[in-house]
């Protein structure tokens, strides 16, 4: 072969390698799109949004802005522009609210009924009385609790309007974080986002076609980096309610923030935490949040019919260190216990 021909051949090989490399890079971009994580404080809790796909940074930013707006104009009971605040300050009159707020309150009311009032979205005055997050919290007197329990505190939903009984105060703290996950899912569906994971406090949204998201359940008795076990999930929402997150001690007794609507005091079940999982549906977030609270207050036996009715999975962690899983979804629950301080009990 002539030297000149050889030279041409080698330049061809060089060009081919360059083209291959370029293709590889493009392939990489397509199959491993950029991933962006953003963190913010919304609704008094830590919000973490991880988005994968085209325009991921912009999507994450818009998502956080949307959640701020959700708090300020709909969910908050402390901000004057919010639907919940307006309904609470309407002196028993009907108040127009967003369609979502009406729907979320109706779901809360349904679970309130099924839990015989143990779960309720109108415990605002009682949680103010307990004020577990205060600098120096104190257990209120039984008389003051009884006085509040006597007042009618129901909220009725008609179309997109709410009427809060004068003795009640709507507090969507037990469903707001899950509701935020639903709002996020609806927003992501309108974008080019392929995959996203968002956590709003302890409520988690898993979005996308992936079927092996890995979710850690925190050890209720450990520190922030200690885990109890691991869930493997597809698109779904997960919420946990536990007595360890917000509480105070008085006279050797622990007072946590999850109130039982029938006693007006912190729920006394033998549970340390309940994690509820709902497969993807438009209200999976809000339902997982409501159910985790309701299940915590009801205790294991009382919770099972509720989980069955809503087609949810759950992991119950008992104070004594045992764990029970319950599954009412067609696909079943993929939970792996990884902490040797606990044992599975079924």
């Amino acid at each position: 072969m002539a030297a000149r021909q050889k030279k041409v051949l080698f330049f061809l090989a060089l060009a081919l390698s360059a083209a291959l490399l370029a293709c590889a890079l493009l392939f990489f971009e397509e199959f491993f799109p950029p991933q962006v994580q953003q963190t913010d404080f919304i609704m008094d809790t830590l919000v973490n949004v991880t988005v994968r796909g085209k325009d991921a940074a912009q999507t994450a930013e818009l998502a956080l802005g949307m959640l701020h707006k959700l708090e300020n104009t709909e969910l908050s009971r402390f901000r004057e522009q919010a639907d919940v605040y307006k309904a609470n300050h309407a002196a028993g009159h009907r108040t127009a609210v967003s369609a979502d707020i009406a729907h979320w309150v109706a779901l809360g009311n349904a679970v309130e009924q099924r839990s015989n009032g143990k779960y309720s979205v109108t415990l605002g005055k009682l949680s103010d009385l307990w004020n577990v997050n205060a600098q120096n919290p104190k257990a209120p007197s039984p008389e003051r609790i009884a006085a509040l329990l006597k007042q009618p505190r129901n909220v009725s939903v008609e179309g997109n309007s709410l009427t809060v009984a004068p003795g009640g105060m709507l507090d969507l703290g037990s469903l707001g974080k899950g509701a935020a996950c639903d709002r996020l899912r609806a927003f992501l569906a309108s974008t080019d986002c392929k995959e996203a994971v968002a956590s709003v406090g302890g409520s988690v949204l898993l979005y996308g076609a992936k079927d092996d998201f890995r979710i850690g359940i925190r050890d209720p008795k450990g520190q922030a980096e200690d885990f109890l076990g691991e869930l493997t999930l597809g698109a779904s929402c997960v919420s946990t309610s536990g007595s360890y997150e917000r509480f105070f001690m008085e006279g050797g007794k622990r007072y946590h923030h999850i109130l039982d609507g029938t006693t007006g005091s912190p729920a006394e079940s033998e549970l340390a935490s309940v994690t509820v999982i709902l497969p993807e549906r438009p209200d999976a977030g809000v339902l997982s949040d409501i159910l985790s609270t309701a299940c915590f207050v009801l205790g294991y036996d009382g919770a099972l019919p509720l989980l069955q009715e809503y087609g949810a999975d759950a992991v119950f962690v008992f104070e004594r260190g045992s764990i029970r899983a319950a599954s009412y979804t067609p696909s079943g629950l993929r939970f792996q216990l990884t902490n040797t301080n606990y044992h599975l009990d079924d």
């Binding site: 072969m1 050889k6 051949l9 080698f10 090989a13 060089l14 390698s17 490399l21 990489f28 994580q37 963190t39 913010d40 404080f41 008094d44 809790t45 830590l46 973490n48 991880t50 600098q135 994971v197 968002a198 956590s199 406090g201 302890g202 409520s203 988690v204 898993l206 998201f213 890995r214 979710i215 850690g216 359940i217 925190r218 520190q223 922030a224 980096e225 885990f227 691991e230 869930l231 997960v238 919420s239 946990t240 536990g242 997150e245 994690t275």
Partner: protein
């Protein structure tokens, strides 16, 4: 054709080196980890975490007061003036994807960089 010529070998090596050079940034992009501290949604501190780095404590100027402590490639919240101390109990972070937060001071600590985070998310 026959590969044996000195020139051929040199050319091949050149191409290989070129490819490696192009791939290098992608390979090492994740080697460095950084700690990012946000207060009220704004980034107030960004530190590259290295194993042999000098120990230091940096006050964040928040209310209630809060500082971060950096030592041996790890970062933790410390000297928190809040009652619950949840952020301090989060311990020292070093793995990409780990986060800790102080709600009263609205401060968040995030470790960025490539590396395997243990979970996609955590529920609590």
């Amino acid at each position: 054709m026959k590969f044996g010529n000195k020139k051929d070998v040199i050319l091949l090596i050149t191409v290989a080196c070129l490819a490696l050079l192009l791939a290098l940034p992608a390979l090492f992009a994740g080697a460095g980890r950084s700690a990012l501290v946000y207060v009220d949604g704004k980034e107030v501190l960004r530190v590259a975490l290295q194993d042999g780095m000098a120990e230091q404590t940096i006050p964040l100027g928040t209310s209630p007061a809060l500082s971060v402590h950096i030592a041996e490639g790890k970062i933790s919240f410390c000297d928190a003036a809040c009652p619950d101390q949840i952020c301090v109990k989060s311990g020292a972070l070093f793995r990409a994807g780990q986060t800790a937060a102080c709600l009263p001071a609205k401060a968040v600590l995030v470790i960025q960089g490539k590396g395997s985070a243990p979970f996609d998310a955590i529920t609590y």
